[in-house]
């Protein structure tokens, strides 16, 4: 699996545009929100970029994972997937290599986005343990969403279909506490926003960045990630077995 991981990491290295495009949309959104919309948004006392960053990181992951579906789809269509499957290697290794590649590539994109945020004035009082917790949650979240991306990668019939599924994921943060507090949303929207995975993850990250205790939300966040991971993994495995 390490060999296959090396292979797909090399793909990422040789097309660094995938990291750039993954990072560029969230960075553009960050600029838009900080300099255009942010002034009119009342979201607590601190700088708006501090409030905004966790949501932007979620958007980064959501746009980054679509490359997994894309790469997996290309592997299937080119026949190289079959070639690996007919070799004496663990069959799950092919999928895991793609998932881990996604985690690594997304981490790089996330670091880029955080650095840009620092330039825009993002400051965090979080210590090393809190940063590690942030990294842990984001990795867990990336892993879960990537398994979700494996599904269209395995089943899509066209390249567009393979990557289109990410769009709703990118917009999920908008109906959450990611950009504005949920307090001003009308009832049903607010109910949705407060009970969807992004809100619990964003709130947890925000607390960690602010140097506060993560709060009970962290368990909700972890439960969401774990739940998505399990369901996506099972579905991906079923889709995968169907091919044989």
């Amino acid at each position: 699996m390490i060999i296959l991981l090396g292979r797909s990491l090399r793909h990422v290295l040789r097309s660094p545009d995938t990291i750039v495009t993954t990072a560029i949309t969230p960075i553009a959104m960050m600029l838009l929100f900080v300099y255009v919309l942010g002034g009119a948004i009342r979201a607590g006392d601190g700088a708006y970029v501090d409030y905004l960053l966790p949501g932007i990181l979620i958007v980064t992951v959501a746009s980054g994972i679509s490359y997994t579906a894309y790469r997996l789809f290309l592997d299937l269509r080119s026949g190289i997937f079959d070639r690996f499957q007919s070799m004496p290697i663990a069959r799950s290794a092919v999928l895991w290599a793609h998932v881990l590649t996604s985690v690594v590539a997304n981490l790089v994109s996330l670091v880029v986005v955080v650095l840009v945020a620092v330039v825009l004035g993002f400051r965090s009082s979080a210590g090393v343990p809190a940063w590690l917790a942030v990294a842990g949650i984001l990795i867990f979240f990336t892993c879960a969403l990537t398994w979700l991306a494996v599904l269209p990668g395995l089943t899509a019939r066209t390249i567009d279909g393979a990557s289109a599924f990410a769009y709703p994921l990118v917009f999920l943060p908008f109906v959450s506490s990611a950009f504005v507090p949920t307090g001003t949303m009308p009832g049903p929207v607010r109910a949705f926003a407060e009970n969807q995975p992004v809100t619990s993850i964003v709130d947890t990250l925000r607390n960690l960045f602010a140097g506060q205790p993560a709060g009970s939300g962290i368990w909700t966040a972890l439960a969401w990630c774990g739940g998505i991971l399990i369901v996506a993994y099972v579905l991906a495995t079923v889709a995968y077995r169907r091919r044989i």
Binding site: I3, L4, D82, S86, P88
Partner: protein
């Protein structure tokens, strides 16, 4: 252990294999035997089920019924052993376009846990006249070069049985000759080769034995001479083929 278990049996044994996709019965009882070290052509028109059979042989697909043994191992219960014994070159040259030719072969050698993957790659590149192109990305190769790289990748680790699914489809005449030469060298080295083709002259040129797959069964197998004797009026394999296939319709 592998050699001991497999020494007596044929390299490939197919008995009564059936496979349907929903309502479509693609294979309707296929029997086929391939002797060790021989080249067998699986000849059939488009949609005859050649690829389906190759996918079953290489454990990518499960048969609904029947038994298949490759290198003495049951594809159903000993998939891992089968995969250690074979190499599949699929219908589309399955090379990694982003990696260089050399990196492609090195990757295969490492996946098979061979020692000295770099040396193996250099040897194979030379053997398939790709030494000069080894450092370039495979995506920039011509069709013939891709196919040769594809076959070279299959040879890393010298698997005793090789499946080639339509190895020359889509190649220009020059590329086709290159691939033919590669296949002949394989057999000279003692490898068992099963290849599929829709070109009669390809079967004529390369194969020790020819099996014609039609309507989901092998309607005839034999050497070129045996097939010609089967239909004395026929002068070429083409006549035999059309005669047999046409006669069934």
């Amino acid at each position: 252990m592998m050699a001991g278990m497999s020494a007596s049996a044929a390299a490939i044994e197919v008995r009564g294999v059936r496979k349907s996709f929903r309502e479509v019965r693609v294979l309707r009882g296929v029997d086929l035997e391939v002797a060790r070290g021989s080249i067998v052509a699986l000849l059939g028109s488009n949609g005859a089920g050649k690829t389906t059979l190759v996918r079953i042989l290489s454990t990518l697909l499960r048969a609904d019924e029947g038994t298949v043994r490759v290198n003495g191992f049951d594809v159903r219960t000993q998939g891992g052993d089968v995969r250690r014994s074979i190499s599949l070159t699929g219908q589309f040259a399955a090379v990694d376009e982003i990696l260089t030719g050399r990196e492609n072969i090195v990757m295969m050698a490492r996946l098979r846990r061979l020692k000295n993957p770099g040396r193996i790659a250099d040897q194979l590149l030379r053997r398939f006249s790709l030494a000069d192109a080894g450092g370039r990305r495979a995506g920039a190769y011509s069709g013939g070069m891709r196919r040769r790289l594809d076959i070279a990748m299959s040879l890393a680790g010298d698997p005793p049985v090789i499946f080639l699914d339509e190895p020359t489809t889509g190649l220009d005449p020059e590329g086709r000759l290159e691939v033919w030469q590669a296949i002949r060298e394989l057999a000279a080295a003692g490898t068992t080769v099963l290849f599929t083709t829709q070109y009669l002259n390809e079967a004529e040129q390369l194969a020790d034995r020819i099996a014609i797959l039609h309507d989901g069964t092998i309607i005839v197998t034999g050497t070129l001479d045996e097939l010609k004797r089967l239909r004395p009026a026929a002068k070429t394999l083409e006549d035999v083929f059309l005669d047999l296939v046409g006669g069934r319709r």
